[in-house]
């Protein structure tokens, strides 16, 4: 057994020896290393040679690489920070973008009910996102309204919103709706309040310029995000009436032209019969012109002002407690309380994780990029320091 092992060892030694001896060795290898050692490290001995000596003889040719690496890492870190802070500031700006008319209610809600201010702010974020998303549309509307040309789009907008209010706030919120209408350059077209009964309610139709439609709806919806109010339903519709508008204009032009011609004919009529016949025709044409003009006016009005039907109703009164022997609430035991705490803690943790996953992804990406840089730049730096 030991002979076999010895044989094995000698065999592999001879094999490796043959392979190793066949490798050509650079003639100036050792001399180059000694030269490099003296050049880079010098004769400073001991521990100081690894710091002072290497620093003093740092390879100047590699210095730019180290500087570039540091600059790249710093740029990456700066970019990441800027992206993160930009995200934060954008969301802050979004949160502060409160539609006109809702600013008062928003601030009052925060002051009056600090507990719901976070919810209010959160809802406000989504609210302002909707506003910004519809801004482009509003700009188009503004230009269409300003030019009123035949080739400009004419859009008719309508919307409705149904808000459930906390008890006792109907009157104030109804006033708020009216304020929103006037603040957006519109008016309260129709309104009705019914404060009797268990569920006081109010309905109103406000009309605002179409370019303020989205802002007004958002402002009213913002009421629903405050102090326990809730937006139950919200709809908006838009209809392109450009074709109808152009058709009415063409028909009006034709009718007007015909009316002028009939008027001219009337002036040239000689007999009573002719005069009566032409007058009848003139009357019918004039009626048609008036009808067309009226339809155009209606369309103009509908495309200039959008209607928002607002329905406000308070929450129904809570049912009276059944009369009976007073039942004391069952005190929670330690185990039940612990279970509830754990359940809430778990749900809060999941919410927290989901809410921050976006930012975490950004941070993770930045970390990976930095890891990548360190992975490939560290050897360069290390060789430079050697």
């Amino acid at each position: 057994m030991s002979d076999e092992r010895t044989t094995d060892n000698s065999r592999f030694e001879s094999w490796l020896g043959a392979a190793g001896a066949a490798i050509a060795v650079p003639d100036d290898g050792a001399a180059t290393i000694l030269e490099l050692a003296h050049e880079r490290i010098g004769n400073v001995d001991g521990a100081s040679s690894s710091t002072i000596g290497s620093r003093a003889t740092f390879d100047r040719a590699k210095r730019w690489q180290v500087v570039a690496a540091c600059a790249a890492v710093l740029t990456l870190m700066g970019g990441t920070l800027a992206a993160l802070t930009g995200q934060t500031s954008k969301s802050a700006v979004r949160a502060e973008r409160v539609p006109p008319g809702a600013q008062f209610g928003y601030s009052r809600g925060r002051v009056a009910d600090a507990g719901s201010s976070v919810v209010g702010a959160t809802r406000n974020q989504s609210l302002s996102i909707k506003t910004s998303a519809t801004n482009g549309f509003s700009v188009e509307q503004r230009s269409a309204h300003g030019t009123t040309g035949a080739d400009s789009p004419k859009l008719e907008k309508n919307g409705s919103i149904d808000v459930q209010l906390v008890r006792g706030s109907l009157t104030a919120q109804y006033r708020m709706v009216r304020t929103i209408a006037t603040a957006n350059g519109g008016y309260l077209a129709d309104g009705k309040t019914d404060e009797a009964g268990d569920t006081p309610s109010a309905s109103a139709t406000i009309r605002v310029p179409v370019e303020r439609f989205d802002a007004a709806v958002d402002a009213i919806a913002h009421i629903g995000a405050l102090r326990g109010n809730k937006v139950v339903n919200r709809t908006s519709s838009s209809r392109d009436v450009t074709a109808s508008y152009a058709d009415l204009h063409a028909r009006l032009q034709a009718a007007t032209s015909e009316r002028d011609q009939v008027s001219l004919v009337l002036t040239k009529a000689q007999t009573i019969g002719d005069i009566l016949a032409v007058r009848d025709r003139l009357n019918s044409v004039q009626t048609e012109v008036d009808q067309l003009q009226g339809q155009i006016n209606v369309l103009d009005d509908q495309t200039s002002y959008a209607a928002v039907a607002v329905s406000l109703h308070e929450q129904p009164a809570p049912l009276p407690k059944p009369v009976g022997p007073a039942k004391l609430p069952k005190p929670a035991t330690g185990l039940v309380k612990a279970w509830d705490d754990a359940r809430h803690g778990f749900s809060h943790s999941v919410e927290w994780f989901v809410a921050r996953s976006g930012k975490a992804l950004v941070i993770l990406g930045a970390l990976l990029a930095m890891l990548f840089l360190a992975r490939y730049l560290y050897p360069v730096v290390r060789r430079g320091l050697l």
């Binding site: 044989t7 592999f12 392979a19 190793g20 001896a21 490798i23 650079p26 290393i33 001991g46 050697l386």
Partner: protein, 189 residues
């Protein structure tokens, strides 16, 4: 400072230079067999010796210096192979195995046979995975013990032993070396 001057005066630096020149050939060939590439080998040896020079004040004594150097050298080889030059075309830069030093003085036939054996062993080494090749080279070329190899590659001695066993088995069963193995066995029996 006076201590450093004293050390220089005592000739320790010259002794280090001598040791470096003496060890260079063996170290270079070890690195070449591990890396399989002359550029990697040259850079690895250079890094290892520069490190030795830099920390020469704390270098082990003569007996422990070789294992220390091989440990640094193996790390440098790993670094070259894995991290610093991952995309180097190693096939193109194969180790030049036509060294005039390789020719033994037994005549042209023995020289040719020696060259064929060296080529076959080099090829077999390259086909071995790195985990097996490194201990094999350190054991049978550099002459390190299993314990010193374990220190050099930072593995347990048992792991080194099993890797050496596997490396030997694979090398012995290499078809290009089978004839040499039989010849060797015949010579011993």
């Amino acid at each position: 400072m006076s201590r450093h001057v004293e050390r220089d005066v005592t000739g320790e630096t010259d002794e280090l230079n001598d040791w470096l020149e003496r060890s260079y050939t063996k170290a270079y060939r070890t690195a070449a067999m591990i890396c399989g590439n002359p550029d990697d080998a040259r850079e690895a040896v250079q890094d290892a010796f520069l490190r030795a020079w830099r920390f020469r004040a704390s270098l082990p004594a003569d007996d422990g210096r070789e294992p220390w150097m091989y440990r640094v050298l193996v790390n440098a080889c790993y670094s070259k192979m894995r991290r610093e030059v991952p995309r180097r075309n190693r096939e193109r830069d194969r180790v030049d195995e036509t060294s005039p030093m390789a020719a033994p003085a037994d005549g042209p036939e023995a020289s040719a046979e020696h060259a064929v054996l060296a080529d076959a062993v080099a090829f077999a080494l390259k086909s071995l995975p790195e985990a097996l090749r490194v201990p094999l080279v350190l054991r049978y070329w550099s002459g390190l013990s299993e314990r010193e190899i374990a220190l050099a590659i930072r593995r347990r001695p048992g792991t080194v032993k099993s890797r050496l066993h596997e490396a030997r088995r694979r090398l012995a069963s290499d078809p290009n070396l089978l004839g040499y193995a039989a010849e060797m066995l015949g010579a011993t029996t």
